[in-house]
């Protein structure tokens, strides 16, 4: 029996009276692609932040490859193999693209606290360049992030999440703000990820989420309401009710 990459048991998170995440339990197996869907305010990002360690859950347990991480700090979880992106781009605006990637690569290397400049043959720097190539950022390596376009930022964001070779990659709405033309590229990139990486994807947009996922979790009001393979999602009456409102004139009832 394989150990789940990520296992949530009755995870809850409240902010004051607001129950942002309520009693969420599910397992993500290694190599699986999981999409988490749901309308704004459903608790997806809160759940994400709880998994990544931005704040502890109010209740419940989270384990990563069989190891309880509910009380580990964010950087410890990163070292345990979580890589993530953020809904709103959280890049280092004052640094160049290459330096952003370089920091991301080094974050999981030994001796990450260093007062010495990288040498010419530095492996981290080489890897940062490789990542830049891979995400089409090669011409921009010397550009400061503040000067990048929205699409380029999202590319960089994902590149940084992959820099540490995470075992569990968590993407928070990677398609948000992308123009329709950019979407196929994103999808191709997701498909190209090796199966050694487990993927959890928050997505609002079914066109991205459904093709990318093996299994879809739908959240609403902090709770998991549907868990099903992607081809069963669009037909699901609960999903339709959530997304379109029940009893819509053109709906298939």
């Amino acid at each position: 029996m394989t150990v789940p990459a990520l296992s949530l048991r009755n995870v809850s998170r409240r902010f004051g009276a607001l129950q942002a995440v309520r009693d969420v339990s599910f397992d993500v197996m290694p190599g699986e692609r999981r999409a988490v869907l749901g309308p704004n305010g459903a608790g997806k990002t809160t759940l994400f932040n709880t998994i990544c360690g931005d704040f502890p859950p109010s209740a419940g347990s989270i384990s990563l490859f069989g190891r309880d991480i509910a009380s580990a700090s964010a950087h410890e979880r990163t070292r345990l193999g979580i890589g993530r992106t953020y809904q709103t781009s959280l890049l280092f605006n004052g640094l160049t693209v290459l330096d952003n990637l370089f920091i991301a690569v080094r974050g999981l290397m030994p001796n990450r606290f260093s007062f010495l400049r990288p040498r010419r043959d530095d492996t981290a720097m080489a890897k940062a360049r490789t990542l830049a190539d891979r995400f089409g950022l090669a011409p921009l390596v010397a550009e400061k992030v503040v000067n990048l376009s929205h699409g380029q930022r999202r590319q960089l964001e994902i590149g940084m999440a992959l820099a540490g070779d995470p075992k569990l990659l968590m993407l928070d709405e990677p398609a948000a703000g992308l123009s329709p033309g950019d979407r196929p590229g994103l999808l191709a990139m997701l498909h190209a990820l090796p199966r050694s990486v487990t993927l959890i994807l928050i997505e609002h947009d079914m066109d991205i989420a459904l093709p990318a996922a093996d299994i879809v979790t739908v959240m609403k009001d902090g709770e998991v309401v549907v868990e099903a393979p992607p081809d069963r999602i669009e037909d699901n009456p609960i999903v339709q009710a959530i997304y379109l409102g029940s009893g819509l004139a053109g709906g298939g009832h």
């Binding site: 990544c52 640094l95 330096d99 920091i103 974050g107 990450r112 606290f113 007062f115 940084m160």
Partner: protein, 332 residues
């Protein structure tokens, strides 16, 4: 290319300054400018550099830097031979000065640790309060710091058989120290530590998510700044032939901020530009306006800079250059 040439000319000017001054000024005034305007500006520039380093690359406006510099100054004064009163004494300068740098670095780390969970204006408030707490402690403690009177007669070592406070020796030693520290800062900000520090400035949450310890890097940055401030503190103490609590009081604490801000917090060079402007004003206020109203004068300069150009003279320069560049561009 042009800016590299500018930099080379600037460096050359600084090295040649004492000689150039002799050409344009009578000898005693040239000496005065060498030691007490340029030399003093460099020494206080070093202390301001420690603040500019933290502010530019970490986004931390610390008001504790003068106090940290003072901790190094006090360490020297307490240890060295010949200081009055003798508190520990008997330690040669060659040993006391490195110890002082260690003390300042530790003090920097301590300030960093106390303030590690705060940022922005909270950090400003807390570092100010910590600095004033140390100031009051030093002012009231007789056993170690000789209280309000401080410790006098810290004359500095002999260097190449010459008195350290000889204007030329003092000037060139300060210049070399400043150049090393300035170069060190420029080196450091391209290292992983420096890049992560800038990452913390831009987005500390992301830094943590990438696997770095934000706390460790923040505290280390304050340690580095402590080392820089300590070097300035040692030089300032020898320049002042001693140290007293007044050196680390509210006024000097704010003065360091004023220097950094006038020069510009966007670049470490701003520290030195700011300290030179401040020192010139401070020295010649009596001639410019009225000695008695020096504080009004410097306050107005500071206020105007903050209102007009939040990134100080460096920012003003950059803006002017881009303005000129824009005007020149269509010609070819």
């Amino acid at each position: 290319m042009r800016s590299a040439a500018f930099r080379a000319i600037g460096a050359l000017l600084l090295v040649a300054a004492p000689f150039l001054l002799l050409v344009v000024l009578p000898q005693n005034q040239a000496l005065f400018w060498t030691a007490n305007v340029l030399g003093r500006a460099i020494v206080f520039g070093i202390i301001a550099l420690s603040l500019s380093f933290l502010a530019t690359y970490g986004g931390f406006i610390s008001l504790a830097q003068m106090m940290v510099a003072g901790s190094a100054g006090y360490a020297v004064a307490i240890l060295v031979d010949g200081a009055v009163p003798t508190i520990v004494g008997g330690v040669p300068y060659a040993l006391a000065m490195p110890i002082a740098l260690v003390v300042a670095t530790l003090m920097g780390l301590l300030v960093g640790a106390v303030a590690v969970r705060t940022r922005d204006i909270y950090l400003l408030m807390i570092t100010l309060a910590v600095a004033m707490g140390v100031f009051r402690f030093v002012e009231t403690n007789i056993a170690w710091f000789n209280g309000y009177e401080g410790i006098r007669n810290v004359v500095g070592p002999q260097l190449f058989g010459t008195d350290f406070r000889n204007p030329y020796v003092f000037y060139y030693v300060s210049l070399v120290v400043a150049a090393l520290l300035y170069g060190g800062v420029l080196y450091l900000v391209r290292t992983p530590f420096g890049l992560v520090l800038q990452g913390i400035r831009d987005n500390d949450r992301r830094v943590a998510a990438l696997g770095y310890s934000v706390k460790l890097h923040r505290i280390a940055a304050f340690g580095v700044a402590g080392f820089i401030a300590g070097a300035g503190g040692v030089l300032a103490t020898i320049y002042n032939i001693g140290i007293s609590p007044g050196t680390i009081g509210l006024g000097p604490t704010v003065n360091v901020l004023i220097m950094s801000v006038i020069g510009g917090l966007g670049h470490p060079a701003g520290a030195f530009i700011g300290s030179l402007i401040f020192t010139v004003f401070d020295t010649f206020a009596a001639n410019i306006y009225d000695r008695d109203r020096f504080n009004t004068l410097i306050g107005l300069v500071f206020l105007v800079i903050v209102l007009v150009s939040p990134d100080g003279m460096v920012g003003l320069g950059t803006r002017l250059r881009s303005l000129l560049g824009a005007r020149r561009a269509p010609q070819p």
